[in-house]
Symmetry: D3
Subunit: 341 residues, 6 copies
C-alpha cells in the first residue's frame, strides 16, 4: 500500500442515456457515480496509493451504492460521513460531432452541500497523509462546505500535508465575485494549482490574451503568462494549465503546460477520439499528484499527467480506470493502440 | 374524443434497476415517469376520454421528457406549467417472493412542490370538464400545493365538475394530524372517495376492527363499516375501498368494495402474479371514473375498476396501458390468459 | 446422423418486446424466427435426426437470417427455395397473469405464401426420407401453398414416407368451410394427426361435448370420442390431442391423449410456469414423431411428447432447444428442477 | 403554439440491429418509427410550430405505436386515418467506414399505400394552415397515394397554403419515367423544391455536368445550373440542393445550396462524424421551412437548415430531436462541441 | 466495524445467459463472481462484521475484477494472494418450471487450485479473528488446497478461533472415498457443521432413512438422527441441516434444522419463488455465523439463518445482498412482501 | 455449393465487455466464438465455397454452442471431433484512441490443445478438397496439435490439395526457437504463405530493415525483400504480407503486398475506422484463398483480399460476415459508404 492521500468533495449519481441518445429519447440510464475529488481519489488508488475520499452521503441504498462504487475501485471510504437527505445527481447526454454534450445538474440540497464544520475529524484524517486535494466545486456547494474546506486546508497545512486545488469554476454554482472571495481565502494554504483555459480568468480575473475557446485556437504564450501570474500572486510551488482544443464533441486535442518558477514545460499534444470526456481534468490532477509523489521530475510529471488524462477520454464513466504502467507506456511514446495480447 | 377529465398532481422520474436487481447491484436504471394523478390521466386517455393532466415541471429536458411521456400515451399536456428547478424522483427496487419492493423518494424541492396559488387558470382548465380527480399526495407536498388543491376543488365545484379523491396517505410526506386537518378541509368538495385498507384510519381515524395487513387476512365486515362511516361523515356519493391481500411480493389477491348509500358491492377477487405493482390503486381510480362517466351501474363500475387494476399489475411502469375493451373482456369473465391471435 | 425427416411450411420473423412490455411501450424487439413446421424440424434435429425444413424465403439478408437461424440449430436447409419479396412477420406481446399474450400477424404476401406447384423437387426431397410433417397453417396460406402441400403429401405417399399433420386451425387465415374442404382433401394421405382442444371442431366439426376452453375445465371423455371419430373418419393410424388448461397467462396445465385404435392413453399432467408458450404444440409433434421413429410404444411416445412440450414452455423462442436425454429425464419422472452440476 | 403546418406521407416501423451489427448477426432490433414527411413534422413540432402529420395506419397496436411515437415528440395526430392491414417496415443496417449502410424495404401493401382519394378531409386539414410539405416518396407508393397527393396540393393551393416538396427519388418504388410524369403533374402546385445531388437528374433529367457521387467530389457550378433550371422550368420560388460528400459511411461533408431567382447561396460545409444518417435530408427540409416561416432571410434560412441537418446526423432514429435554439447556436458558429453545463 | 471473521476458498467468474436463455441461445453472459466461502464473506460484511476472504487470484484484470467485486460489497481483500494462470469459471443456465438449472464447471488449473502450503500467513490472518469458515469444496480442489485448509484450521484452533464448515459435497471434484478421508481429517478442528440433505451421506455415509430428494418429500425424523450422529461422531458444538423441497426449478420450500446436543430446532418453512438459487446454502451459513456471533439463541440463530437464505433466493448473483435489519424483519414474521416506502 | 476447402485449428469462446468498457467495469460480456482458422472457414463459406472446419470441442453445451455458431454461418462441422474438458477462452477489451485493445488468453488445457495424432481421418477429410489452410497458432498449442498439423499437411499434399499457412506468431504460446523449428518442418508442405509485418522476423528471423511497428511507418522496400526471401527459402508459390499502420486503436491504415516470383504487387491503402479489429488477418487469408480458387489474377486476388479485410474491421466479432459481391464492390472502387437502398 502506497502513501496516504486524501481528497474531499461531492460524489454524485450520474445518469446518462445509452450511447448518443438524447434525454428525450432515453428509456434507460447508465449509472455511475463521480465527482471531481472522488475521481482523483480513484486515480490515486489505481496507481497504488492509499487513497481516501472524504464526503457525506445519505444512509439509504443510493448513498450506499456510491460508497460501494468507490470501494470497488480501491478507495478507502472509512472517513465518509453518513446522513442528510439526498445524493446529488447529474444527468449527462453524450454529444457527438457538432452536437455538444449536455449536463443537467440536480445537486442542490445534497448531503454534502449541507455539511457543517465539525462533522469531520480532520486531525485523524490527515494523520500520516502526504497530500490533500480539493477542487473549486466543493466550496461552491454552499457556505457550509466552504467552511469545511477551510477547516480541511488549515488542518492539512498544520500537519505538513501538501495541498493542491483544481480551480474548476462552475458558473451554475456561484458567481465570479463569490468564487474570487472564497477561493482567494483558501489559496493561502495551497501549494499546487491546476486550472483549465478559462478558470483563472473566471475566478481570479487572470486572462490569457486573445484566446477564444470556441474556436479551439490556443495561445501558448498567453497561458504561460497566466501560469506565472497565478504562481506569483499566491506563492505557489507549481501551476499546471490544461489545454483543450475542441475540434468537435468527438475529437479534441489535449495537452497541458506546467510552470515551476524555473521553467515552463509544454506537454505532447494528443489528438483524442472521445469515448467519455467527463473527468478529463480530474484525471490530469490524479496523474500529476501521483507523479510528483513518486518523485518524477516536473517534465516527466507533466507528461504522465497528460497521458493519464488522454487515456481517461477513452473510458466510460467519471473514473480513470488505468494503471500507472498503462499511463507510463503511453507517456513513454507508444500511442499506436496496437492490440496487447 | 370523449368527455373532458382533469387530474392534478406530481409526475416524477422513476428509476428502477433492471429485473429484480437490488439498488446496490444496479449499473442501469429503467426509467419511466409517473405519479398518482398522472397515472389516472393516462388510464382515462387510454379509455378514449379527453384527458388533461395539470402539474408543473422544470423547463429542462428532464422536465420535457416527462411531458413527452404523457403525450405519448395520449394525455393532453396543454395546461402544464413550466418552471422550477427539479423534477421529483423516486427510486424503485422490485421485490420478489418474501423480499419486499423498496421505494426511495427524492421528491423534495420539486417544481410542483413549490407551486403557489394563482399559477394555474382553473377557470379555463375546468371549462367543459366533467370530472376532476386528485389524491392525498398532492396536498401533502407542501402548503403551496395544498392551497392550490383547495383552489382547484373550489373551482371544480363552482363549475359543477364531479370531484374524486384517492386518500393515498404517505407517512414520509406528512403527519396524520396534518393530513387529517388538510384533507378534512378538502372533503367538502369531494363526491367520490377511494381508499385502500389503511388510508381511512391513518387520515381520518376510521378503523376496520381487527385487520392486520401484514397477515394478508381481510375483514370484509370491517371495511363495509369504514366505507359507511366515510360516506356519512363527508356526505359522499360513493366510497370505494381497495383490498389487497399480500401473499408475497410476487403474488397478491386483489379486489375491492363499493358503497353507494344503498348497497355494498364486493368485487371478484383476482389472484395476481405481479409484474409491477406500482400504480395499482391509481388504475382502480381510472377504471372507476371511466366506468361511472360511461354510465355503468355501481356494480359494473366496481368490476370494471378491479379488472382494470388487476391488469395494471401485469404491466411495467406506473401507467395502466390497457384499452377499455381489454378491461371489459376480463371483467366479463375471461381470465384464462389464452393467447389472442 | 439419424433418419431423414422432412417438414414443409412457413418460417416467419418473430418480433417481441422485451419481458412483459406491451407493444406500445417497446423500444426494442427481441427477434427469433419460427413457424409450426420449422419448429418441428428443429426439435427433430435436436433429437439427432437428419432433419430437413422446406420453405421459400427471399434472397435478401432477412431471408438469409431465417436460414441461418435454422442452420444454427442443426436443420438442413438445402431444399429451401430462395425468391419472393418478403418474409412473413409476426409480432408477439408476452402476457402475464390475467393479461393474455397477443399475436399480430403480418404474413400476407410472403415468399412461401406465393409459392406454386413445381417449385420444389419433392422426388429428390423424399428420397431416403422416413417421415413428412406439415400443419394446417401451410395450406391456409393460399391456394398456391395448398396445391404445393397436396403435391408434397402425394409424393410422400408414393415414396412410402409416413405423413403426419397438426391441424392447427387459424381463423385469421381462412374460414372453417375452406379449411374443411382443403384439409379434408389432404387427409387421404395422412397417417398420424395431432390436434388441440379446438381444432377438430373448427376444421371438421367434430366436437367434444361441453368443454369451455376459457374456463380451463377439461372433459376427457369428450376428447376420447373426438380422437376416435377422427381416426375412424380418416382411417388414421394414430390421433393425438393436446390438452391445455389455461389457469392464467403465467400458469397452464398441460397434458395430452393418444388413441391408436386399440387404446386411449392419457399422459401425466404438468403444471407449467410459462416462459414462452409459443411452439408448445409444435414441440409435442416433434416429440411424438421422434419417439415413434425411435420405436417407443404408444404410451411411451405420448409421455415423451408431453414432456418435450412441457420443457418447451420454459424456453424463449419458437424452437424447443432440448436434447432427447433431457426430455427422457423428465418423462422418466424427475420434475423437481434441482440444479444439475 | 406556433403556425399550423401540415405534412403528408408514410410512417414506417424501422428496425435496426444494435450498433454496427449486420442483419445476420442481429438478436435484437432497435425500433423507431419514421418516414420523410413524418420526420419533417417532428422537426417543425420541435421548433414550436403547430405541426400536423397526415397518414393512414392500421388499427392494431403497431399502428398505434407509430401514432404514439409522433405524439411523444409533439406532432398533432388528429388527422391520421386508421385502417388497412399493415404498417410499412424498413430494416436498417448501420454501415461503418468503408462498409455502407443497408436498407431493406418491406413497405408494400401498407395502409397508406392503399389510401384512396376521398379518405382525407383536406379542407378541414388546411384550414388555418400556412405550409404543406410532401416528398416524392408519397406519390411513388401507388396510384392511390399519388391521387391523394394531387388532391392535397390542389386543396392547399386553393387555401393559399405554401407548398414544398422534397424530390426524394426512390428507384425501388417507381421508374424514372413514372416519376417524371407524376411529379411533373404535381409541380404546378409547388412553391419550394428541395433535392439532393441526384434527384433532379433521376426525376426530371436535369443533370449537373460531370459529378460522380461515389467519389464524393462536388461540382458546385453544375448544381447552380441545376437549381436554376428547376426554378425556371416549374416557376418555383426557391430551390434548395443538399450536397453530400461521402468520405465513408462514418464521415461525410455536408452542405447545401439555395437559389431564389436572385442569388445563389452556398452554405458552410460541415464535416460530420455520423451517428445516424437517415433523415438527413428531411431535417434539412424541416429547418428550411421553419426558417422561412420565421421570416429569416434566404441566406440565414439556408444556414439554419444546414445546421439543423448537420445535427440530425448525430441523433439516433429518423427524427431530428433538436430545438431551434440548438440549431441557431450551431448556425451562429459554435461548432466546438464543448460540454454545456 | 464488527468482529473479525475469515473465510477461505475459491472465487470464480460466473457466466450466465440472460433470463431463462439456454446456453446455445446466449449472445451475452451476465457476469458476477462467487464461490462458497466468498459468498459467506459477503454476507458477513453486509451484516457489519470485519470480513476477510482469503484466496489466490491471477494478476491479470479478470483476477482484479474478482477482487473488485468483493471490495464493492465490503469484503476486506488484504490477504488475497496474487498469482497463477487463471481464475476458475462456471457457466450457469437458469432453469424454470420443470427444466432444471445447469452448471458447467471450468475450474481446473485455477490459481487457488494450485496453491501450496506456506503461501498464506495464517498467523497474521487469524490475529484478532473470532470465526473461520470454509466449505468442503476447498479441500476438494486438489491436494494443495487440502493441505492449505489443514494449515488454516490448525492455525485457527491454535488462536482459539471458532471453526465452521459447510460440507458441500461436489461429485465432480472428488470421490466419496477421498472426501471421507480428507474431510474426516479436518473435522478434528471444526466446531460447527452445516450440511444439506445429501452431504452427510455422501461424505460420511450418515444417511437419513428413506428420503428421496427428487420427490421433494422430507423426512424430519431422519434428519434429526443425521444431525445427532454427526455431532456425536465429531464432537461438534452445533449441527445445522438445510432442507430443500424442490417443487420445481421455480418454486422451492426451504427450511432448516439445528441440533445443539440439547435440542432439535426446526425452522419455519418458506415457500420461495426463485430468482437465483445459487448461494442459498452459503447465505444460510452466513446468517448462522452472524447470529451466533451476535449472541442470539440457537433457535433465533436458526430462524435468522433460514430467513437470510430465503431472501438470497430472490437476489441475482451468488452474493446475499441483504442487511441484518432486512433479515430480522422477515425472521420476525413479516413475509407479506408489501412495498416499503 | 462451391469447391471443398478445409481449415484446421482452435475455436475459442470470446468474451468482451460491451462497447469500450474496461474489464474491471464489465457486468456483461458479449460472446462470440472465433479463432484463426475458424474465421477463415466462415469467410470461405460466405463466399459460397463448401467450407469445412476441423477441430475438437468438448461435449458440453459450451462446446455445442461453438459448433452452432459455425453452422449458423454456413460452415460444415461434420468433421469436428467431440471430447476433452474445456473450450479455450479469450477475453477481449476493446481499445479506443490511444488506449490499446487487450487480450487475455485462457486457452490452456483446451480440447484441441490435447488432441493427438490419429484422432482425425484426414484421408476422408481431404477427399475432394482443393485447399487446406492453417495458421501458426495451431502447432503452437502443444506437441499434440503440432503433430496433428504435420499429419494434416502430409495428407493434404498426398491428395494434391493446395496448402496455405498464416504464420501468426504468438509469443505467449511458444518461443521463437520452438516456432522456428516446428514451422520450419511444416513449410515443406506449404504452397502459399501469409504473414504480417512481424511474423517473418519472429519465426524465421527474416527482417525488414528499419521498420518500427509502433510508429506506424512502413518500409515497403523492406517488405518486398522479406517476401522474396520467404518465397526463395521455402520454395513457395506466393507470399503475401499484410501491412498495418496503427495510427491509434480507432484508426488504422491497412494494405498488403503480394509476391509471386514474377512481380511484387502493392494493394490500395484503406484508412479504416475500426469497429472490431480481431480477425483482420484471417479475413485477408479468406479473401486471398477464395480469389485464387476463383481464378482471379494475383493482382486482383490481392485487391480482393485487402478489400475483404478492410470490411472485416467494420464488423463485430471474429468472423468476416460479408459476401463476395460486397467485397468485389469495394475492391472495384466504391469506398464512399453511401447508403444502399
Amino acid at each position: 500500500m502506497g502513501k496516504k492521500v486524501v481528497t474531499f468533495g461531492e460524489i454524485m449519481l450520474r445518469l446518462s442515456p445509452p450511447g448518443y441518445e438524447r434525454f428525450v429519447q432515453a428509456e434507460k440510464f447508465n449509472l455511475v457515480y463521480g465527482g471531481g475529488e472522488a475521481n482523483v481519489a480513484v486515480s490515486l488508488a489505481n496507481y497504488g496509493l492509499d487513497s481516501y475520499f472524504v464526503t457525506k452521503t445519505p444512509q439509504h441504498e443510493i448513498g450506499q451504492a456510491a460508497v460501494n462504487h468507490l470501494r470497488r475501485f480501491g478507495v478507502n471510504t472509512a472517513y465518509i460521513a453518513r446522513g442528510g437527505e439526498r445524493l446529488g445527481i447529474y444527468f449527462l447526454e453524450m454529444g457527438a460531432s457538432q452536437r455538444p454534450s449536455k449536463v443537467i445538474y440536480d445537486r442542490d440540497h445534497s448531503a454534502i452541500a449541507q455539511a457543517q464544520p465539525g462533522e469531520f475529524d480532520w486531525d485523524q484524517i490527515f494523520t500520516g497523509a502526504e497530500w490533500f486535494h480539493f477542487t473549486g466545486i466543493t466550496p461552491a456547494l454552499g457556505d457550509g462546505p466552504a467552511a469545511v474546506t477551510l477547516e480541511a486546508v488549515k488542518a492539512a497545512k498544520a500537519k505538513g500535508v501538501k495541498v493542491s486545488v483544481d480551480l474548476n469554476y462552475r458558473k451554475k454554482l456561484w458567481s465570479q465575485e463569490k468564487a474570487n472571495q472564497v477561493m482567494g481565502g483558501l489559496m493561502d494554504y495551497v501549494d499546487v494549482i491546476i486550472a483549465n483555459e478559462e478558470d483563472a480568468e473566471k475566478v481570479f480575473g487572470i486572462k490569457a490574451a486573445s484566446t477564444d475557446v470556441t474556436t479551439g485556437k490556443l495561445n501558448e504564450a498567453g497561458y504561460r503568462q497566466v501560469a506565472k501570474e497565478l504562481a506569483d500572486r499566491f506563492g505557489l510551488e507549481k501551476v499546471a494549465i490544461t489545454l483543450r482544443e475542441s475540434i468537435s464533441a468527438s475529437d479534441n486535442n489535449w495537452s497541458a503546460l506546467l510552470y515551476d518558477h524555473q521553467n515552463y514545460y509544454r506537454s505532447r499534444v494528443y489528438n483524442v477520439h472521445i469515448v467519455d470526456r467527463v473527468g478529463g481534468g480530474d484525471s490530469f490532477c490524479g496523474g500529476l499528484i501521483y507523479a510528483l509523489l513518486a518523485g518524477k521530475s516536473a517534465e516527466e510529471a507533466l507528461e504522465f499527467a497528460v497521458a493519464a488524462s488522454c487515456l481517461k477520454h477513452t473510458i466510460f464513466g467519471d473514473f480513470n480506470l488505468v494503471s500507472a504502467g498503462e499511463v507510463q507506456s503511453l507517456a513513454g511514446g507508444d500511442a499506436s493502440g496496437r492490440v496487447q495480447r
